[in-house]
């Protein structure tokens, strides 16, 4: 294992705020991970603890089986060789691109070669003499990445790398950065609050909520077998299906668990496993679909329709395999 975290906790305000609460996980070399969570979930704290910018209240962190953090030991950040790409890039404003990239390289003899290699890698050849303020946001992002990669770190952490970019640029850059990291083969950890980013770039997603680890799994597993309703609704709009509603559809629940369906899994006027007649109460155009509120019995359900419903009544249905049971 490249990185092993055991029972990690970090408190603020004399223990009143549990930023991180008993988190254990393992990261393998060469894989891409993303830490997904809303603000206050502890994802940034986790990254800062791994980087050594903060020290834990409880728990241990091992890098290649060497202890780097515990209650009684702290290897300073500058000795961990863990790269960090900061949210606002944190490029040194008084140094040009070349100087920024070579800042962390300790081997003096092949400095120039490494810088050139990095500039090539991030596709910024010819930009070496530019200063950070002369670059676009995406270019700054790539310089920050090159700078973090230049010392050949064992692990690289990227804190909200796409949050400063508008959505068109974001997808391009996401693909680009993913490709760059694939080429270097370094283990990378993306910190993000955006579920789509988290799933697009990572081999495994680490879900945090209120400082606790909810699930660590591949994006597919996370989507198909979410550990909790919270995980599921973070990835998609979720509709809770109480007993009464299930019975309306002719489905007889076998247990007293909680049942959910994703809005887009509802079909209408099509053959399906279970169906019921619903009356349309409200329709909102959302671009790709019509967000439609329908009433089944006395329950309101949100479904996605590809066309604007013309009739007041729809035959709404769903497949049993889409049902999420917790």
């Amino acid at each position: 294992m490249l990185l092993t975290i055991n029972n990690l906790s970090k408190h603020y305000d004399r223990g009143k705020v549990k930023a991180l609460d008993d988190v254990s996980l393992q990261l393998e070399a060469g894989k891409a991970y993303s830490i997904l969570g809303e603000s206050g979930s502890g994802k940034t704290t986790l990254a800062r603890l791994i980087a050594g910018l903060e020290s834990p209240d409880r728990g241990k962190i091992y890098l290649n089986d060497d202890l780097i953090s515990s209650e009684s030991y702290h290897l300073p950040a500058e000795k961990r060789s863990i790269g960090f790409v900061f949210q606002h890039y944190a490029l040194f404003p008084h140094l040009n691109v070349t100087k920024n990239i070579e800042y962390g390289i300790s081997n003096l003899s092949n400095k120039t070669a490494v810088v050139n290699e990095m500039l090539h890698l991030v596709d910024l050849e010819g930009y070496g003499n530019r200063y950070p303020h002369e670059l676009s946001g995406g270019q700054q992002q790539r310089v920050a990445l090159a700078r973090a990669l230049a010392p050949k770190p064992r692990l690289i952490l990227l804190d909200e790398p796409f949050s400063n970019l508008d959505s068109s640029l974001r997808i391009d850059l996401r693909t680009e950065i993913f490709d760059i990291l694939q080429q270097t083969g370094v283990c990378s950890v993306f910190i993000t609050h955006n579920a789509e980013d988290a799933m697009a770039i990572a081999d495994e997603v680490i879900m945090l909520k209120d400082g606790r680890l909810l699930q660590q799994a591949s994006p597919e597993t996370l989507y198909q077998n979410p550990a909790t309703p919270y995980v599921a609704q973070l990835l998609d709009t979720l509709v809770e299906m109480p007993m009464a509603l299930l019975e309306q559809f002719g489905y007889a629940p076998t247990s007293t668990n909680h049942y959910f369906l994703r809005s887009h899994h509802f079909t209408y006027n099509q053959p399906s496993d279970y169906s019921a007649t619903a009356s349309v109460t409200n329709t909102t155009f959302m671009g790709q679909y019509y967000h439609t509120e329908v009433t089944v019995g006395d329950q309101v359900v949100s479904i996605h329709c590809s066309e604007k419903p013309t009739e007041n009544h729809l035959e709404v249905g769903w497949r049993e395999s889409d049902l999420l049971i917790f």
Partner: protein
Amino acid sequence: MQNRFRQYFQKNRRDFNRWSASALIITLFIGTPPIFIFFKLFAGPGESWGAIAQYLLPKYVQNSLYIAIACSILTILFGVSSAWLSTRYEFPGRKPLEWLLILPLAIPSYITAYAYAGIFDYGGSLTLLLRWFSLSIDKIDVMNIHGLSLVLSVSLYPYVYVACRAFFQHQSQNLIEASQVLGKNETYGFFKLILPIARPAIVGGVILVIMEVLNDYGAAKYYGVNTFTTGIFKSWFGYKEPETAVYLAALLLIIIFSLILIEQGQRRRKRFVVDSKSGRQLERVRPSLGKRWLIFAGVALPVALGFLFPVAQLVYWAVLNYSGIDWVDLNRVVLQSLTIAAVAAGCGVLAALALLVAGHWNRLGWVGKVSKFGILGYAIPGAVIAVGVYMPGLYIDKWLIDVNRQLFSTEIGLFLTGTAIALIYAYVVRFLAVAYNPLSAGKQNVQQALLEASQSLGKGALHTLWKIELPLLRPALLGAFILVFIDVMKELPLTLILKPYDVQTLAIEAYQYASDERIIEAAWPSLMIVLTGVLPVIFLNRLIRRD
């Protein structure tokens, strides 16, 4: 319980590094004088304390309180009005007036006080001027507590002006617009919205004014008003009772710390205010011609009172006394003054930088909190710090002399007290905050993230300091140096107590001439101090504009 204690101990041992140690050592170094004074409080006062407490102390308290309150009201009046008018309106001479309003800070209050004494005296400038218009008045008596309050106010209002100006510029546009949309006129919006929300800024400025008022010795002494600070001097030099002086100093210290607590309470409230980034720059209004000149008069008045009139009086005296000047002596004093100020400013900036770096690389929360005490020196009156430096210095000197006598059987003189070492040390204690604040403001630009980026790239504190912080902090370092330099040039009470016998500064020279009723001869050294104060202010103003 024991387990928790062990964990706490373990964590402290893990996170305590050499930077934590540095932070604590610097704080102790800076904090020794006030700590010493505080503990002296338990040692009991000197013989005359009984008499002083019974007859003089009530007067000290009463006078200091009166001056503090009067100055608060007047500086708010001058400072808030000039800040609002000069940020909100377009009027003739607005641009030069905006920075001229700061210039009274370049003149030490005691020198402004000397100048006003000269203006209103028998046969003073005012009577001479009125005689031209065939008017005659007797003297107007300003040499009393009311006159003192007025003089201190015109000299100290810039603290309030500066504090409010930044606030008005960045935070009031949205408020004014909201008020207008709700159908209220500007005056209503100003008094009902802007002024109440600006209160923390105003209080911050007023607290600085009160600290300067409590620090003042020269003006109160000259005007014959007994205050806490003149009381300290009277016990020290008059009754020759350092213990009593320390006792008074400790009482004053307690008052000051209460003020700081109030100010911090105020700061906490500031969090409710819209943050400065979201606020848009206040838009200027161009009123009718008549109003424009009225506003000009309103803004020019404090500049005239605080800067132009006193400087004119000084220049008049300087011209009168031109032939009587001992240039060789004045040159020597100027040189000594500049050297001491430069050395003190250099040491102050270094100490502030060390505190800043240690603060970032230290990882223990309580060490960070403790080291905040290091920058409280500016709140403590110069006389109090001087007493706090002199007395432990004397103990160390006596000990050194004893040790030397026993070990080497030779006699040595005083090593600390009565030398420039004690003086420079005291300046650093008093003005550390002056150097620290611009640096830490500069550091916010440097951003925590840049330092952490350097760290994550494998570089330690010293490499980061050299390659990242120093290059980026250069303008702030220069600014910090200049600010401490000006303050040291102006400083009087601390210098008076601690200066070595053979060292003379411009401030002391001016003070001594004034005390000897040779006020005219005080003009040249005074003007030199003003000049060294004005030039950097203009320079700094340019620097700020360029940014």
